[in-house]
């Protein structure tokens, strides 16, 4: 086996990052390797810290904002920054800085919960439909089509106007209801692509059950497009909450959210651009952080990119 030896030598020289150089120490798996990779990825560290910060201020907004978001002085409406009020005042004379900090809770709750809900429901249903096919697939795809057919604004106006709750959950529920078909289509397509690979047949030839084939072979190879779609959808969902709030069927005062503030500020963008700048900026940074996190996770799960 001389040639095998030469093959071995060439392999030794190929750059393989931390995996290529490491000795055969303890056995590693995809997940432990992905975590090893993530901890060294600056994109992951930056986005992770940012998300951690956002989560902390959503839970304890008073940590960095001492004022009350509902304490407003109409006399100061649309005034610019002044000491103690670095972001200025909005149309109602409320402090923009305090409202931006307090708005994080509702917006992030809606964004994260709606995304998680839509992604989990969509990938579960779409994944199973793609994997098992047949009548289950046909039924599910038609149901998804029905939800696709519901116009977002009209559907929101009808469904949410009958809800009297002032919490964020009806809005989250509505977004999940309209959002899952998109994820489900993507998941179904990538599962169908993944399950046709020979390695899935090889696992079946070994006697693997459906659970093992789905979890170990199909899911890891089908998850990347779902992650991408979900992280992009997160921003859209926060914006959708803003739209619904603007129409009066989303979150209602006294709830404070970026969406409500952006909708209000948009009316007077020429007189007082600072009113729009801060909540919109906070929204953009949040969406960016989640997209970067999604990117980093997706790359870490692909051994070829290491």
């Amino acid at each position: 086996m001389d040639l095998a030896m030469s093959e071995a030598e060439t392999l030794e020289k190929t750059p393989g990052g931390p995996l290529g150089t490491g000795p055969a120490g303890k056995p590693r798996s995809l997940w432990s390797d992905a975590w090893f990779q993530l901890r060294r990825n600056p994109v992951f560290l930056v986005s992770g810290l940012l998300i951690l910060f956002l989560v902390v201020i959503s839970i304890w907004p008073s940590l960095i904002a001492s004022g009350d978001p509902l304490e407003c002085h109409l006399s100061k409406a649309q005034e610019g920054p002044e000491p103690g009020h670095p972001f200025g005042y909005d149309s109602q004379g409320c402090d923009v800085y305090t409202r931006t900090v307090y708005g994080a809770r509702a917006s992030i709750t809606v964004g994260v919960c709606a995304t998680l809900g839509a992604a989990l429901l969509g990938s579960l249903l779409g994944g199973l439909a793609g994997f098992f096919g047949g009548w289950w697939d046909a039924l599910l795809s038609r149901i998804a089509d029905i939800f696709f057919g519901i116009p977002v604004i009209l559907g929101g106006l009808v469904l949410l106007s009958v809800v009297t709750s002032t919490t964020v959950w009806p809005v989250v529920g509505f977004i999940v209801l309209l959002g899952w078909p998109q994820v489900s289509r993507i998941a179904r397509g990538s599962v169908i692509t993944a399950k046709q690979n020979d390695y899935v047949q090889a696992a079946r030839a070994l006697g693997a059950g459906n659970g093992r084939m789905l979890l170990r072979h199909v899911a890891p190879n089908a998850v990347a497009p779902v992650i991408v779609v979900a992280t992009i959808a997160l921003g859209t969902y926060i914006a959708l909450e803003a739209t619904l709030s603007f129409l009066g069927v989303g979150l209602r005062p006294p709830t404070v959210s970026w969406g409500i503030d952006i909708a209000n500020a948009a009316q007077s963008i020429r007189n007082a651009p600072h009113m729009l700048l801060w909540p919109a900026g906070a929204l953009s940074v949040t969406v960016l952080a989640f997209i970067m996190l999604g990117d980093a996770v997706r790359d870490a799960l692909d051994p070829k990119l290491r």
Partner: protein, 383 residues
């Protein structure tokens, strides 16, 4: 006379067996084949395939599907595989070779027919009994780039058989087992934590072979295991497979379209055309004494390295395309492209048996061939 001779045939060819023994052995169909095809004693076949059929339905309509026909991918195939031997299956693209492999691996459900593994029909098995059989029949896939999960380490890929069949290796012992397997197939055991994309095609195929060997199977079905590899690497992998066969007493069903490789590795060869077996025999019988016109045409296309011999030999060039397996020709499936075809070929399906005219002969032409007008024609050495 012919019937009498059939019974006596093995007596002449197997001089070491007494006449009575041979006559007894000649009773079951498998034993007759074994005795005629091989001058050496083969024992009981480990895998017997009988009239295996796979039709893929063609349907029309979206909601109410109705069957409008069937692609007859495999249409009544029978053969035996013996312990420790290599049976090569050759044939052009679309003739049903890979479907046979999938049927034997139970990755597809046969439309009809039986596959006996050690006397047990495995096509009807399910649950635990099926898992037990899967341990003994493993497969090496054609494409080393899609047959290994890109998101699993080599250790996980080769160790997966032990996860599915925990009785294959005790838990603490698996890592050592995996490293042993890597060593057996000529890879460095330290590569256990690497991913498939860090290997070349040949190395990946070795990983695939190691996975197939993990559970100590008796039969390995190789579906074009080297056709995706470079020629130099093909030789290495073939040599490795031969070495492993000797070491572990494996039986191979070796599917390929490369006639030279099949001749190199096989003890017996079956030639398939359009879902049926055209001819089957030992490699000397098939390569040096082909009697089926399709086999002769295939062999005449094998490249000959000697330019002088090449000029003198006859090339049989077939006209037309392979007919659609959804609508195969009546009678003999090869008749539409055969230069010997006559009316009989369109009406009568030729059976795979030793041709009448060779029944009494002791030459190697006396092997099973599904042709009404079988005659010998040496296309490989013809001057």
């Amino acid at each position: 006379m012919a019937d009498l001779n059939k019974g006596e045939e093995p007596v002449d060819r197997k001089s070491d067996v007494s006449a009575t023994e041979a006559a007894e052995a000649a009773e079951p169909a498998g034993a007759v084949e074994a005795a005629i095809e091989a001058p050496v004693e083969r024992g009981e076949p480990i895998l017997q395939v009988r009239n295996l059929v796979k039709h893929f339905p063609l349907t029309q309509g979206i909601l109410f599907k109705r069957q409008i026909g069937a692609v007859k991918a495999v249409d009544g195939i029978s053969f035996d595989l013996y312990q420790g031997e290599t049976l090569g299956i050759v044939g052009e693209s679309g003739c049903g070779k890979s479907t046979v492999a999938k049927l034997l691996m139970l990755l597809e459900t046969a439309t009809s027919g039986e596959v006996f593994y050690k006397g047990q029909d495995i096509t009807k098995l399910s649950g635990r009994a099926l898992r037990a059989v899967r341990r003994n029949i493993q497969m090496v896939f054609q494409d080393p780039y899609t047959s290994l999960n890109p998101r699993m380490t080599v250790g996980d890929i080769i160790g997966e058989p032990f996860d599915i069949h925990p009785e294959g290796a005790p838990k603490g012992d698996r890592r050592r087992k995996v490293q042993e397997l890597l060593d057996v197939v000529g890879l460095n055991p330290e590569y256990i934590n690497r991913y498939p994309h860090q290997f070349s095609g040949g190395q990946r195929q070795r990983i695939g072979i190691a996975r197939g060997l993990a559970l100590n199977p008796e039969i390995i079905i190789c579906d074009e295991p080297v056709s995706a590899l470079d020629v130099s690497v093909q030789a290495q992998v073939i040599n490795l497979m031969e070495k492993l066969q000797d070491e572990f007493n494996l039986s191979y069903l070796f599917i390929a379209h490369d006639l030279s490789i099949v001749r190199h590795i096989s003890d017996r060869v079956g030639v398939m055309y359009l879902g049926k077996m055209a001819e089957i025999g030992t490699d000397a019988e098939i390569y040096d004494h082909p009697t089926h016109p399709y086999t002769q045409a295939l062999l005449s296309a094998v490249p000959v390295p000697d330019p002088e011999a090449r000029e003198g030999r006859e090339r049989i060039i077939l006209t037309g395309d392979v007919p659609s397996p959804a609508n195969p020709p009546s009678g003999c499936r090869f008749r539409t492209r055969c230069w010997k075809a006559q009316d009989k070929c369109a009406t009568e399906v030729p059976v795979l048996a030793i041709p009448e005219r060779f029944k009494d002969s002791e030459t190697l032409a006396a092997h099973e061939s599904a042709c009404h007008f079988a005659e010998e024609k040496d296309v490989v050495h013809a001057a």
